[in-house]
Symmetry: C2
Subunit: 176 residues, 2 copies
């Protein structure tokens, strides 16, 4: 059974944070585009069968109205129960076992979201591709995307582009 | 007296490190280009009057043969003496006072190098522009480029480009 492709698509400050220390992401608004530019997110999202996120990320997006993952299978990695929107379920890790189960369900591409879950997937060498969108801001402190559990390794640049808002986006593929 | 322009031009891993924990930068070799592509460094270097670096950076480059800054005024920020190549001098910080002195000497553009010195200059809001070259590698651990002393602030993207070696380079200007 082929393992599903595992993808990251995330915005990060120039100094490597995905949120303020309190989880705040209001600074992302600076790249909101009046012409509706979504930086490829819609196409990426449509190509993924399942979203896997950690509990912290879920608790942050759970309050979003409308639920941003409507119609998509969402798996929240957590040991605690939660009020779940339709289509969402709770599982315990580790990520590697979850991916095996998702492969059995026929999943082709998994969207991994949230710092903890991304780092865990990187640590287990499970991430196949990664699209990083650098936002032209420094936060100084915050929740980091990467960390010491991320293994040393080379990546192949698949493409890069930049936008009038100052966002610089690069997509990488893990090299064996 | 106009303050000289202060510029950063530095390579960084995808996870934000400028060197391994032991100072190692052998991973930069992965973007060495057989056609002699220098990613704009030569042009940048030629445009700077003075190089300012911290003691750790100096101790690392001091052993390079030939001395990479021949013909350029180099200032090493340190409280300790050192064997200095021709054209190099030792000063004590802080960076802001040094820039005032350099302005009096007629310096137009300063190249700030080394993590400690760059962070100090950022903390004092002295950096005017910054060219970051992201190398397609994760190190996991190392000497970080940024840190908590870097103040929150927006930057303006001046331009970005990428190269067949996988290097993604973006230049930013500090917004007031």
């Amino acid at each position: 059974m082929p393992r599903p492709r595992v993808s990251v698509f995330i915005a990060v400050s120039l100094d490597g944070f995905i949120a303020r220390t309190d989880g705040g992401i209001e600074w992302l608004a600076m790249v909101e585009d009046e012409h509706g530019e979504d930086y490829g997110y819609g196409e990426f999202f449509a190509d993924c069968d399942v979203v896997v996120m950690g509990r912290n990320t879920f608790d942050m997006v759970a309050g979003f109205d409308p639920w941003p993952y409507a119609g998509k299978r969402v798996i929240v990695l957590s040991r605690r129960d939660a009020d779940l929107p339709e289509g969402a379920e709770i599982r315990q890790g580790p990520v590697a076992e979850l991916l095996l189960a998702l492969a059995e369900d026929g999943a082709k591409r998994i969207y991994i979201d949230g710092g903890d879950t991304i780092r865990q997937a990187l640590a287990e060498d499970l991430v196949d591709d990664m699209t990083l969108s650098h936002i032209p801001v420094m936060l100084g402190r915050g929740l980091p995307l990467f960390g010491p559990e991320v293994p040393h390794g080379r990546w192949q640049l698949l493409g890069a582009r930049h936008f009038p808002t100052g966002l610089v986006q690069a997509t990488y593929r893990r090299l064996e």
